[in-house]
């Protein structure tokens, strides 16, 4: 996975700032006309909007695992509980800012797989952690933000016959 083009836009920053409940006027340059418009610290995560393959966005014409007429639009074979494709939970997120990110930047995101490790869960079962690192570079190839995410999924222990 990689993101070929993530245009950082003032309107998007304003919508993102509203969503995180941050009234800082600096983020609302799309409305005031003031520049430059800085991005909030976690804005790089909205690169998901520009990842053509991002699996947590419905794709036009394809089944979606959320509810419609039924509780899920994707039937899975086999049992096993858990989410219908939730892909585990977010355990950690870290950002390093090499310079401020601003409206007008056009980023690329290069994803590098990181480490994978396991831990014993408190209620039994195994927790599998996996890390991914995304390097966001600007139109000049300069590194702007490095994002490191850690996801966790539980691996259910198979019940043994008594």
């Amino acid at each position: 996975m990689s993101i070929d083009r993530f245009p950082v836009e003032a309107g998007h920053i304003a919508l993102f700032a509203r969503a995180i409940g941050d009234p800082n006027p600096a983020y609302y340059g799309a409305l005031s006309g003031d520049e430059p418009v800085p991005a909030p610290p976690t804005f790089a995560q909205a690169s998901a909007q520009f990842d053509p393959d991002y699996f947590l966005r419905p794709k036009i014409g394809e089944p979606w695992f959320g509810s419609g007429r039924e509780a899920t639009g994707v039937k899975r074979s086999g049992g096993g509980g858990g989410g219908g494709g939730g892909g585990g939970l977010h355990a950690e997120q870290h950002f390093e800012y090499h310079r401020p990110l601003r409206a007008g930047d056009v980023l690329t995101g290069m994803v590098k797989p990181g480490n994978t490790w396991e831990k014993q869960g408190r209620r039994g079962g195994k927790l599998v952690f996996s890390e991914s690192v995304v390097e966001y570079r600007d139109q000049n190839g300069e590194l702007v933000v490095t994002a490191r995410g850690v996801g966790v999924r539980t691996e259910t222990v198979v019940q043994q016959e008594a």
Partner: protein, 131 residues
């Protein structure tokens, strides 16, 4: 830039009552449309949770305000958290940032957001440019 000393601390009430609509807003702005956050039917009947819950990244985004209000929207050098507890609609959240070190124009901080029960929901660290 801010001038700070070790031990300086700021707290900020992020929300008194987190709404489902704010979670929907975050889904739309961030592009993370995981139904676990907005689709109660899927979340209870398929995923087996008591109901929808906030994106960890929404809590992290909200928490960032305690840092940017202090050091400015362009003042951070790093910001990272662990998601330690789920955040549910109706939760009240308060963030606190504490300076733990100051060296060569860089402040190191710990960050924590707690819910109405005083339980941490995210804990983390940050670095910011200071005078």
């Amino acid at each position: 830039m801010a001038s700070v000393n070790v031990g300086d601390q700021r707290s900020l009430v992020l929300t008194e009552d987190l709404t489902r609509t704010q979670i929907v807003q975050y889904a739309g702005a961030s592009g993370d449309y995981n139904p676990l956050h907005t689709d109660d039917k899927f979340t209870t009947e398929i995923a087996g949770y008591p109901g929808v819950f906030a994106h960890g990244m929404l809590t992290m985004g909200m928490t960032g305000r305690v840092l940017t209000d202090w050091f400015g929207a362009e003042g951070l050098l790093s910001y990272g958290v662990r998601f330690v507890k789920q955040v549910w609609p109706g939760d009240a959240l308060t963030a606190t940032a504490t300076v733990t070190a100051v060296t060569d124009g860089v402040a190191e901080l710990t960050v924590e957001t707690v819910n109405q029960a005083g339980e941490p929901v995210v804990t983390g660290t940050a670095k910011a440019k200071v005078d």
